[in-house]
């Protein structure tokens, strides 16, 4: 029978799975998190606090669990961070949804005695909710981020244009990152090491190029040494190759190096060719020629001051011998990654032994500061002082630890931090839609936003703006109804702006908005300069919408700078004819961007802020689905800070922190975080969208069918299609 193999896919089942996963990950989340020991199938032991790794190591069987893990890993491909938070957040969302069903269960029970019927009914309900979630994620979330949350953002850069990294901010960011990734004895040390590493490697202030290079070649840039305490880890100037010299000749003075990718010694025959030996003398002459040729090449290299030969292949004894005779050190059998790293640093192409000899200079040589053996725990390494031609000054990290599993964890964390920083350098596009079904439609977001801006204003100012806002709504309503001409619309909408203008010079002596929402003064970060752009604004019906767009522009820009406001206001005064939509619905698409380097203080700040603004938004919503979804998300968000503050008591416990934060938001005071450290907003935002996508996926499933058959290889359809 089918029912024996199929299980109803329900929120309840998903919640049970998620709760199990939550139990595991929540023990290693945050600064108080603990370690998990994983064994690999090979018997190796690995220590980890990396959520993604843990979930993979579990090799889960349950189909929903596997789906969740898949979602997490696809999220990690995008952002590399946040696997643990993913699970916790998802679990809280499911809990919220489950609570709703529980509440509604009893009446349902009375109505439908047949459980099957109830199940299908539930499923269709879940489908609605999942659609609402999707709508929220694609159309509303960005708007809330852009319009409310963004004013709290700080920047990691000390100058936004040049993207100069601010050391203290970077330290705070890395420390917070490593808090969640490495054991608590070591996170300070490791984050300091990482920070030092960056500043030692960077030539200019901006590091994106360096991050990319270090990220691509991370494996080659660090050396793990077991058997030493972690505190012996250090940064070494120059490049350390995990090889020993096959020939080492100490040298100093003007030293040059060459890279070769094939054997220097000419061979009898190359692939595809045939060498015919007709006599013994011929053989001896060819051997002699080979020897003389090799000797000559090495001599020539010597005459060009080449003291180091780096080879990706094993060189024959003859080459090593003549290298030694000519005082040239040889490093052989380098991996292609190592060769490409060296080439990237010094910009050198491989040396090809010339066919015909001349005394001319060899073009492909590079100067080397030093090359010497480096002994780390009685193992020898090659230590090169390369002279960089790019923004990266070569340094290597030596990671020490009592066991390999710990070193691997640290490597993993350092690599993760690099990826996180690379992410941080990207801008994020936010696209959202303001949609209204009734007449006051478009203005609701904008006007509310205006009142949001007035947060910095002292109380009387606040009041004065609140009032016109309501007036506008009222008048606006009329305006829509009567399909008024543009003048009316204009006069209505201009009111809050006039109010704003009157207040801006009054509250802020300098007109840059940076000062108005400085949140955490103790942090040395500069608040973010806003570079929001509004470039797309379109009423659903293709009206002549110039008035609208100007208005949109004006409101946006007035925030930034008073002068621009004046100009655009003038612009809007221009007699532009505008036909108002004669349908009740209007949609407007807005797009803006979140600049690179946005950060927020750690300790659940992002979650509490979003929670607060979502609740506010939910109050204004008119659709019940939308309200419900916003409420559920808002409440689930709090789950994360709850876990983070689990061990704190008294003043620092979660309820206290939450109340303080909400109070601060209501009275427009800066938020004070009890923890130092910063985290990337981008990562958090992407986490949120990934979780919502995962949840929609879960909700759309109504049944899980178990198939007891060996998995079959799926042919790659795509590749065939391409043909």
């Amino acid at each position: 029978m089918l029912s024996s193999m199929a299980a109803a896919g329900s929120v309840k089942a998903a919640l049970q799975v998620a709760e199990v996963l939550e139990a595991i990950v929540s023990c290693c989340v945050g600064p108080e998190g603990r370690q998990v020991l994983c064994t690999k199938p090979t018997g190796e032991v690995l220590l980890s606090r990396n959520g993604g790794r843990l979930l993979e190591a579990l090799h889960l069987e349950h189909p929903i669990a596997r789906m969740i893990v898949d979602c997490v890993s696809s999220h990690l491909k995008k952002t590399v961070d946040g696997a643990k938070t993913f699970i916790i957040f998802l679990c809280h969302l499911l809990r919220g949804l489950h609570a709703i069903t529980d509440r509604e269960k009893d009446p349902l029970m009375c109505e439908n005695i047949q459980t099957h019927g109830r199940h299908w009914k539930n499923c269709s309900r879940w489908k609605f909710i999942s659609q609402a979630l999707l709508t929220f994620q694609t159309q509303i979330l960005d708007g809330i981020m852009d319009q409310y949350l963004s004013r709290h953002f700080l920047s990691i850069f000390s100058s936004a244009k040049e993207r100069t990294l601010c050391r203290s901010s970077l330290e705070l960011l890395l420390e917070a990152y490593f808090c969640g990734r490495v054991g608590r004895n070591n996170h300070k040390f490791i984050s300091q090491l990482m920070c030092d590493y960056f500043f030692k490697c960077m030539t200019c202030k901006s590091g994106i190029g360096v991050f990319e290079l270090v990220d691509d070649h991370f494996v080659e840039l660090n050396v793990g040494v077991t058997g030493l305490p972690v505190s012996d880890s250090r940064i070494i100037a120059g490049l350390v190759l995990q090889k020993d010299f096959s020939v080492y000749r100490p040298a100093d003075g003007d030293m040059r190096m060459v890279i070769v990718t094939e054997t220097i010694q000419p061979l009898f025959s190359t692939s595809g060719s045939e060498f015919i030996l007709n006599s013994e003398a011929q053989f001896q002459t060819s051997q002699f020629w080979i020897m003389e040729k090799t000797k000559a090449i090495m001599k020539h290299l010597h005459s060009q001051n080449v003291k180091l030969l780096i080879s990706s292949v094993k060189q024959p004894d003859l080459v090593s011998y003549y290298a030694g005779v000519n005082g040239i050190s040889v490093v052989e059998c380098l991996s292609s990654e190592e060769v490409s790293l060296i080439r990237r640093i010094i910009g050198l192409s491989p040396f090809v032994p010339p066919q015909a000899f001349s005394q001319c200079e060899i073009p492909n040589t590079a100067l080397v500061k030093f090359c010497k053996p480096l002994i780390l725990r009685s193992k020898r390494y090659v230590h090169l002082g390369l002279i960089s031609t790019c923004a990266f000054i070569p340094h290597s990290i030596v990671l020490c630890g009592p066991v390999h599993g710990l070193i691997e964890q640290h490597e993993d964390a350092l690599h993760g931090a690099l990826k996180m920083l690379r992410q941080l350098f990207k801008d994020l596009d936010l696209n959202y839609m303001t949609q209204t079904n009734d007449q006051n439609g478009t203005s609701s977001l904008f006007i509310y936003k205006n009142s949001g801006e007035s947060y910095q204003a002292p109380d009387p100012g606040n009041g004065s703006i609140q009032r016109p806002y309501q007036d506008t709504v009222a008048e606006n309503k009329d305006a829509w109804k009567k399909t008024q001409t543009y003048l009316k619309v204009h006069s209505n909408l201009v009111i809050p702006d006039v109010e704003l203008e009157t207040y801006i010079p009054y509250s802020t002596p300098t007109l840059t908005p940076t000062d108005t929402f400085q949140t955490v003064e103790t942090l040395t970060c500069l608040s973010l300069e806003r570079n929001r752009l509004t470039d797309y604004y379109e009423p659903l019906l293709k009206n002549n919408s110039t008035a609208y767009s100007t208005r949109g522009n004006r409101i946006e820009i007035s925030y930034e700078n008073l002068q621009v406001t004046n100009i655009t206001r003038k612009g809007s005064m221009l007699p532009v004819s505008c036909k108002l939509p004669n349908m009740g619905t209007s949609q407007s698409y807005l797009s803006s961007s979140m600049p690179a380097g946005c950060v927020l203080p750690v300790g659940g700040n992002f979650e509490i802020l979003l929670h607060y603004y979502l609740l506010n938004y939910a109050k204004k919503c008119h659709q019940s689905e939308e309200t419900m979804v916003s409420m559920i998300i808002a409440n689930a968000l709090l789950g994360i800070p709850k876990v983070l503050y689990k061990s704190k008591t008294g003043k620092y416990s979660f309820p206290h922190t939450y109340i303080r934060a909400v109070h601060a938001l209501q009275t427009n005071q800066p938020l004070v975080s009890s923890q130092t450290g910063l985290e990337s907003v981008m990562g958090k935002y992407q986490l949120l969208t990934s979780v919502l996508q995962c949840l929609t996926k879960i909700l759309t499933i109504d049944m899980v069918i178990t198939v007891k058959r060996h998995p079959q290889k799926v042919h790659n359809q795509d590749s065939e299609d391409e043909l």
């Binding site: 064994t39 090799h59 004894d317 066991v403």
Partner: protein
């Protein structure tokens, strides 16, 4: 047919340390290592049911490499000790015991891991900074101008490995040999950067330990027949040496990726042999006396060289190549063609030697830092143990050369350190707790656990039911034999402290090690005269012990921090 196999789910366990299985396995491991510790430690016999030889040992490196641990937590523990031993050779058992003790003691307290880890780290840094400070009362400077302290250091290592089965006289003899071997590796005229040479250990099993000896230069083992064939060289000047790293057997070397077609009647072998003989002629004209080859020399070439009174020795093997290069000052030759004159090296003399049943060809260097330590012991297992011990001792001497300090051994450092920490946490807790959220009570609890873990380490030095005491002035360790009459007059029963620095003639107060006593300040700053006058001290390597201490605490912290164990069952 390839079949996709679904992966088995992993086994996930929470709070692994609380389970009974882990506790028992940890305590089994602890019993094994504690019973091995010290000069009177018990030996372990390890044998594999599938064959192989039986190993009798009490050293951590041999013990742990033979043990097969399956539980991941034990794997972490043993791996970290093995890594420590492979980098420092010494103090493996100390590290293992301390780590087990720390885990056990702290678990009993039931404090949160955060607190424990933080405080353990503070206590560790307290220990490290004390042991590195000038006022440290348990370390002594090592004077390289006299052999006395160095000998003490080597002797302490030898006596702590009972599986070597050495008598006192043999111990003295081997200690002296090890020290000599070490001193021979130090270059005579070194300025600035010293590059140490190498002592090669040559096995000679089945002989008396007393027959062991140290020779400068390199011994190459040969059969008697081979040796007889070598003609004696009579030459007053140094001998010219050519060292080949390439094969001289006459193989056609690698011809590339393409094909080589050899016409009928063309003999490559002859062509190559011609080449080899040409090479031989060049060697003769360059007046080479000795030809050494890592690989095989063609018999014809060998005979040709012998005819011209050149000694040719082949199949030397890759391990001897580096010492040979260093000793003779040659450049290993990789060419069958012309040889640069500056690739030749030299030896002062060569001779043949017979030790036991083995025959050796002995290369005597002009001045070089390579020596051979001929090590004898009665049977295989004892020899293996002795060899390991010698390597440890040589390594410890090298470490001491880098950091010329030694710690007082025999358990005195541990008891002294424990006394120091007790005193420090009692009298000055604020300096340790500077900016932490931990309370003083928590600190007291952890400090007590830490100190008693240290003291339990030295407690395991005693295997025969004796008592261990500590004095209240220096904080050193004193042991009483088991069958001694009941507490009457301590000074009569106790003659010397563990390290041998103090004797009981002074007016001292003693207390039992595990009894609770009030904290006292152990006397810091060793009196210089005491160190000079004491001739028979027990000493430990400072570098190895410091690292062992750090590794033990770090590993314990790591294990205490575990909240889950996920075992992959695939």
């Amino acid at each position: 047919m390839s079949r996709l196999e679904a992966k088995k789910p992993s086994l996930c366990k929470s709070e692994p340390l609380t389970t009974e299985r882990v506790r028992t396995t940890l305590s089994v491991l602890k019993r094994i290592v504690t019973s091995c510790y010290g000069p009177s430690g018990r030996l372990k016999q390890l044998h594999n049911g599938f064959g192989g030889y039986v190993c009798t040992t009490s050293q951590s490196s041999a013990l742990l490499s033979h043990l097969l641990v399956t539980h991941p937590i034990l794997k972490i523990l043993t791996a970290s000790i093995q890594n420590h031993v492979s980098s420092f050779s010494d103090c493996g058992l100390f590290t293992a015991i301390l780590c087990c003790n720390l885990i056990e003691n702290v678990q009993r307290l039931g404090l949160t891991p955060t607190t424990v880890i933080r405080l353990n780290k503070h206590l560790l840094s307290l220990c490290i900074s004390y042991l590195k400070s000038e006022t440290c009362g348990c370390r002594i400077p090592v004077d390289f101008s006299s052999t006395q302290i160095l000998l003490c250091l080597v002797r302490s290592i030898l006596t702590s490995k009972p599986a070597c089965m050495l008598t006192r006289k043999e111990t003295e003899h081997v200690s002296a040999l090890i020290l000599r071997a070490f001193l021979l590796t130090i270059p005579e005229n070194a300025e600035g950067h010293i590059i140490l040479g190498k002592s090669l250990i040559v096995p000679l099993k089945g002989q008396r330990v007393i027959d062991s000896t140290v020779l400068p230069g390199i011994l190459i083992e040969m059969s008697e027949v081979q040796l007889m064939r070598l003609l004696p060289i009579k030459k007053s000047t140094a001998l010219k040496v050519a060292l080949f790293c390439t094969t001289l057997s006459g193989d056609t070397s690698d011809t590339g990726e393409g094909t080589v077609v050899v016409s009928y009647g063309v003999s490559l072998e002859n062509a190559v042999l011609d080449q080899l003989l040409n090479l031989g002629r060049q060697l003769i004209s360059d007046h080479v006396d000795l030809v050494l080859c890592q690989k095989v020399i063609h018999p014809s070439l060998k005979q040709f060289l012998n005819m011209h009174r050149i000694i040719a020795i082949d199949r030397i093997g890759v391990t001897l190549m580096e010492p040979l290069t260093k000793m003779t000052g040659t450049q290993p030759i990789g060419s069958l063609g012309s040889i640069c004159p500056n690739s030749y090296g030299s030896v002062k003399d060569v001779c043949t030697a017979k030790f036991g049943s083995k025959h050796f060809f002995h290369l005597i260097p002009n001045e070089a830092t390579i020596c051979s330590l001929l090590l004898c012991n009665r049977n295989d297992t004892a020899w293996d143990e002795l060899k390991l011990t010698c390597q440890t001792a040589l390594h410890v001497l090298q470490l001491t050369l880098k950091e010329p300090w030694a710690l007082l051994g025999g358990g005195c450092t541990e008891t002294h350190l424990a006394a120091y920490i007790r005193h420090k946490t009692h009298n000055d807790p604020e300096s340790i707790l500077k900016d932490d959220e931990c309370t003083q009570t928590e600190l007291q609890l952890i400090a007590e656990a830490f100190c008693s873990a240290l003291e339990s380490v030295v407690g395991s030095l005693e295997h025969d039911g004796g008592e261990i005491l500590t004095d209240m002035k220096y904080g050193h360790l004193w042991s009483v034999q088991a069958d001694s009459p009941c507490v009457a007059n301590w000074p009569d029963l106790l003659s010397q402290c563990g390290c041998g620095l103090y004797n009981s003639q002074e007016e001292l107060n003693w207390s039992f090690l595990r009894s609770t006593c009030r904290p006292f300040v152990p006397q810091s700053c060793l009196p210089h005269e005491a160190v000079v006058s004491a001739s028979n001290l027990t000493l430990d390597c400072l570098t190895a012990k410091l690292s062992g201490l750090q590794v033990a605490v770090e590993t314990a912290n790591l294990i205490l921090d575990l909240s889950y164990v996920i075992e992959d069952k695939n």
